[in-house]
Symmetry: C2
Subunit: 144 residues, 2 copies
């Protein structure tokens, strides 16, 4: 758990219980909404790592801080609140189930990095490509 502390310090952030709790929560379950992070953190409140409730503002501050230093990434699929995950640095993409909303990681496999190839169009300078595959997850596809 103290590696979380190291991680935070490394990025120039103070290591606070809330920040550690958020990182810990995201490590356990990827692709969670801000609310889910909040309740995960709240649940931590009863464990040994005891954490006081985190206010809404506090939560967003923490998430934004972590995002800014590159520890956390967020995606905002159409029709869903923002989802947060630990930044793995592997530039993977996401597959989202149209019927149950489950989010799955998809390794960035198309060739090397299809990711930044495309738009030489009109002088546009891309720095990131975000790909979302919409469809049905295994469970929902079979139960059709």
């Amino acid at each position: 758990m103290s590696d979380l502390t190291a991680l935070l310090r490394e990025r120039g952030l103070r290591s606070t219980p809330h920040r550690r709790a958020v990182l810990y929560a995201l490590a356990e379950r990827p692709h969670v909404t801000a609310n889910e992070v909040a309740s995960a953190v709240a649940r931590t409140a009863s464990g040994p790592g005891a954490v006081t409730e985190l206010s809404r503002q506090g939560l967003y501050n923490v998430l934004e801080d972590l995002r800014r230093v590159g520890l956390v990434r967020s995606i905002e699929p159409a029709g869903s609140p923002a989802l947060f995950e630990l930044q793995a640095g592997d530039n993977h993409h996401h597959a989202i189930c149209r019927s149950c909303g489950a989010v799955q990681d998809v390794p960035c496999s198309i060739g090397a990095a299809p990711c930044l190839d495309a738009p030489s169009v009109g002088g546009f300078v891309p720095d990131e490509a975000e790909i979302v595959f919409w469809g049905r997850c295994a469970a929902c596809a079979t139960s059709l």
Copy 2:
């Protein structure tokens, strides 16, 4: 303008002034927010095609109807309200400028259809791939 009527009938929708006005507005300017559509429609109110103001709910109804029959497509970039465009049927993607928010169409050029290749992962059955390139548009890139 009556081709809009035909278009609507073809898809099983009554041709109403509001629906025509929305289609017309989208034909003129792609990637507009619901609000922008609303004001475009309102502006039409003073022209020859006179249209009475369209309520918020009415607007969303029209947009949803058009989307359902495949005349309109919408994208919801992170941190922005939904943007609407006419469905061109060409499955193009979008490049969004991080600094000015401008949205540009990007032809779906990577190979044939990178679009549905990827996730054989875990039984996921994709039906659409949505790609967003984030970066700087020509104007913002040069003015750095």
